[in-house]
């Protein structure tokens, strides 16, 4: 039996291009269904159509039928589907109605008109199911990202819906938070039989959870079926899948566990024991350095006597949990925050891209936004505008309104708008949030190119795969202290959240290294 059925669904946003083009899809009841696809492929629209937000809230042109647990969404508004579908949108922060977790969880129950006894039981169950009972009295704004996302899911779950619809639930989270959320989702599905419809970009953790995968491309469903085959040739597949593809493992593995088993059984014929050593780069000039800086925020030390040199040609990855001080260090390096003690010496201009790209965007087109920085800095370099628009893969969006883009695309616009100012040092705060595979690759190339051209880049990131691919040096922060610092390979090798390739075939760090080694072996 199907939880949700789509039959010939076409949809276009008001004044926008068509977002869904003839969707025919059955979401089987009781399964975890993973929806993958690039930014702008229609994933969010598809998810929003399951409970009638599309078209009731969005407006626009809608044809075809979506039937959710036997109710037609054309005649049932989202509020009339609230008892069967729990919906959690991308930005958890904006979804809380009440300033206490427990009461926010009860919000849907009050609206459904349940009795006091039933409400109390449901709230306890929802809090326990997500493991947030100890947070019940907190304000959602005071929670960490992972806690907040789990609280939002509890709010959707309390009404005991038959299906949960989650739009990129882990895109804002650190690895620990992402694990917590996905483990909770898996448990709900296993214990309660709740159907889960999940859209994700970072598949390393989500793919092993799914029973089915749906791939979308340009508003169409291009593949459905078991996650393995669907993801086998998907560019955004987990790193181990890409590795398996390279080594000719068929079918490619989805999890580190599967890949490790395959590595033991089949191995990688023709692969040398160690990667081709890269020529050690000569240390460049010191561009910006922090000397023993201590920053106190809200009465607590956010950084304790941290020192960091950033030299020309370097890509430094700042790793560490939420709240470890990564953002604070970036702000101090960027001169946006005056340290209590210590000093920051900047030999050159330093541009900072904030974590939230929305804080920056105000122009009516992407091109105007990028050009604005040139106007502000008084540079006259029109070629730079095109250079950065191309470098970050924004050519197709150059004349669109920045606010009409997806989160990952906005992030790239913000990066282009800061980078075009010509600052040799770029500080990027969590740049891969919500980015699809193509965007991440574009970002990676742009970062490597900028560093190779004599600049330097500092990335604060949770994305260890990104750090493994482009960082020359890694710095791990914990509670405002530098916990580990040094060559990216050495630092990442010792980490609990090591990149997937390193966990399958040490000492290789990335798929690219494996490919290079194979090619070198083939030549010799």
């Amino acid at each position: 039996m199907s939880a949700v059925t789509f039959r010939g669904v076409h949809f276009g946003y008001p004044d926008g291009p068509d977002a869904l083009l003839g969707i025919d899809l059955d979401v089987p009841a009781g399964d975890v269904v993973l929806v993958v696809g690039d930014s702008g492929s229609g994933k969010s629209t598809l998810l929003r159509a399951t409970n009638g937000l599309v078209p009731h809230s969005s407006g626009g042109r809608f044809s075809g039928t979506v039937t959710t647990f036997g109710r037609d969404t054309r005649t049932h508004a989202p509020r009339e589907l609230a008892d069967v579908v729990g919906f959690v949108a991308q930005d958890p922060e904006a979804q809380f109605v009440v300033d206490r977790v427990e009461h926010d969880v009860a919000f849907a129950l009050e609206n459904l008109g349940l009795t006091d006894v039933v409400m109390r039981r449901r709230v306890e169950e929802a809090l326990d199911a997500l493991g947030i009972a100890h947070l019940r009295g907190r304000a959602p704004s005071s929670l960490s990202g992972g806690e907040r996302q789990r609280a939002a899911i509890a709010g959707a779950l309390a009404a005991a819906p038959q299906a949960l619809v989650l739009d990129e639930p882990t895109s804002q989270l650190d690895p620990q938070g992402a694990d917590d959320v996905l483990a909770a989702v898996g448990r709900l599905n296993a214990d309660l039989g709740t159907t889960v419809l999940l859209a994700e970009h970072r598949l390393e953790r989500a793919a092993p959870l799914a029973h089915h995968a749906v791939r979308m491309d340009g508003g169409r469903v291009t593949a459905t079926g078991l996650p393995g085959p669907v993801l086998a040739d998907y560019p955004g597949a987990p790193t181990v899948t890409v590795l398996g593809r390279l080594l000719g493992w068929d079918p490619p593995p989805l999890t580190v566990r599967e890949a490790r088993a395959r590595a033991h059984a089949v191995g990688a014929p023709g692969l040398p024991d160690a990667p081709v050593p890269a020529a050690p780069a000569a240390p460049g000039d010191r561009l910006v350095s922090a000397v023993g800086i201590t920053v106190v925020l809200g009465g607590r030390p956010a950084l304790r006597e941290v020192s960091l040199d950033v030299r020309a040609g370097e890509v430094v990855a700042l790793l560490g949990r939420n709240g470890a001080g990564k953002t604070t260090l970036l702000r101090a390096l960027g001169g946006l925050l005056r340290p209590e003690r210590g000093r920051v010496d900047a030999a050159v201009a330093v541009g900072t891209v904030p974590q939230n790209p929305n804080a920056l965007l105000f122009s009516s087109t992407v091109r105007a936004e990028v050009r604005e920085t040139l106007r502000l800095t008084g540079r006259d370099d029109p070629a730079a505008v095109d250079h950065w628009i191309d470098a970050l893969g924004l050519r197709a969006h150059a004349d669109r309104h920045p606010r009409s883009l997806s989160g990952g695309e906005r992030q790239r616009v913000a990066i282009a708008a800061v980078a075009v100012g010509g600052a040799p040092v770029l500080l990027l705060d969590e740049p891969t949030r919500g980015m699809d595979a193509a965007s991440r690759r574009a970002l990676h190339d742009a970062v490597v190119e900028h560093a190779a051209g004599g600049g330097a880049v500092v990335l604060a990131t949770h994305d260890v795969e990104l750090a493994a691919r482009c960082a020359t040096r890694a710095v791990v922060l914990g509670d405002g202290d530098v916990v580990a610092q040094g060559d990216a390979r050495e630092v990442l090798a010792g980490s609990l959240f090591a990149p997937q390739v390193l966990r399958v075939m040490p000492p290789f760090l990335t798929v690219a290294e494996v490919a290079t080694a194979l090619a070198a072996e083939g030549r010799s």
Binding site: R79, R138, L143, G299, A324, L336, L360, R403
Partner: protein
């Protein structure tokens, strides 16, 4: 400002996974959970404080009330983003008061004690014909400052109330008929602190963009547009979240329709009463007032009865809450008694210019506003933060 918990101050990551699992819940338990006093208690406190300001507007007493309000925020405004809005609102009130002083001093003239004389211009008669500039007199400046200071006091009480009250508790305490309306208002108020955070983010992003080089031209547009657009996007997300969770599900019941008609008729009658009063028909006005008020009351009763809304764990007033309510109410009552018995220190007059005097009894009466501070639950004990350690700019870390 005095705020001991900023959103990013969640339990800091421990160095090992084992530590993390044991340390986190213990730390959570101590962070402001249940607000110590009921929303209605805080409402009574705010009304009592405002009434005290009206009865005893002398600057020394206003300063005392502001100090009490600030203390209340620093003790109870724990994890609330509204506590961050407190200094902003008080600062805005100070700016407003200063502007008012300047405008009054420049446009009001006459009297003794001229401080200095400015070049003056008289605006044409068709614009009012007053003189701008000219002599600036001390009593006029003092009087304007005095009046402005009372406004600062009222704003600080209002801001403190918002920092410590749970708006949701307040909504729950409303009659059922107003539940949805109250919720919408509470959600609207919640945009104030988030907008303040957004303004901070946007200003920083504007500086970060040029690599620290300040650019003033066009700054307003660059900063206001993102704040407005973020607010709009947030509002849409919130509306969709509320819709997805069944808000306003089921539409209006028959009782609610009846109540709506009854309420409309009542309001119409009250409006008619006002017209009748202006026109001089006092008997008609009286009849309409009685009828209109009765209709409004009936509408409220019908709507509340007809609503099948059950609230989740509404907080009940405890005896201690009642005690606090009675305690704080003593402040305006005692001040009113003092005022009636002819205590002339309560009100200050700028002419002739003299220092405001402080007498003991009104101070004792105002001390009653501290009653909510006297009994503090132990879980909320850790709130004192050294002033030097506080950050002036809140950090946002998602």
């Amino acid at each position: 400002m005095a705020r001991s918990q900023q959103p990013e101050e969640r339990p800091r990551p421990a160095s090992t996974a084992a530590e993390l699992t044991t340390a986190a819940p213990a730390a959570d338990a101590t962070i402001g959970t249940q607000r110590p006093w009921h929303a209605m208690t805080w409402l009574v406190w705010a009304i009592a404080a405002t009434a005290s300001l009206q009865i005893a507007p002398s600057p020394v007493y206003v300063a005392l009330v502001i100090a009490i309000a600030t203390l209340v925020v620093s003790v109870y405004g724990l994890d609330s983003p509204y506590a961050r809005a407190y200094p902003v609102l008080v600062g805005a009130a100070l700016v407003f008061a200063a502007l008012r002083v300047a405008l009054t001093a420049l446009t009001t003239h006459g009297g003794p004690q001229v401080l200095f004389t400015l070049p003056s211009a008289t605006v044409p008669d068709w614009l009012g014909g007053f003189t701008v500039g000219s002599t600036i007199e001390a009593p006029i400046v003092a009087q304007a400052a005095y009046e402005g200071f009372v406004i600062v006091g009222v704003v600080s009480v209002f801001a403190a109330f918002n920092a410590v009250v749970s708006h949701h508790e307040l909504v729950q305490a409303l009659p059922c008929a107003f539940h949805e309306l109250g919720l919408v208002v509470a959600v609207g108020i919640a945009f104030v602190p988030t907008t303040i955070t957004a303004i901070h983010d946007v200003r920083e992003a504007d500086r970060a963009r040029t690599g620290g080089r300040p650019v003033r031209r066009g700054r307003l547009v660059r900063q206001i547009v993102p704040v407005l657009e973020n607010g709009l996007e947030r509002a849409i997300t919130l509306a969709e979240s509320m819709d997805s969770r069944g808000f306003a599900r089921g539409g209006a019941t028959r009782a609610e329709h009846a109540a709506a008609w009854c309420g409309a008729a009542g309001l119409l009658a009250l409006g008619g009463a006002f017209v009748a009063l202006v026109a001089g028909g006092s008997d008609v006005a009286l009849a309409l007032t009685i009828g209109g008020s009765a209709a409004v009351v009936v509408a409220m009763v019908v709507a509340s009865r007809g609503s099948d809304r059950v609230r989740y764990r509404p907080r009940r007033l405890t005896r201690a809450d009642i005690g606090v309510m009675v305690g704080v109410s003593l402040a305006p009552v005692a001040l009113a008694v003092l005022s009636a018995t002819g205590d002339d220190t309560l009100v200050w007059v700028a002419s002739p210019l003299r220092w405001p005097t402080l007498s003991v009894l009104p101070v004792v009466a105002l001390a009653a506003l501290c009653v909510p501070l006297v009994r503090r639950p132990p879980a909320l004990g850790r709130s004192a933060v050294p002033a030097a350690a506080r950050a002036t700019t809140p950090e946002v870390m998602v």
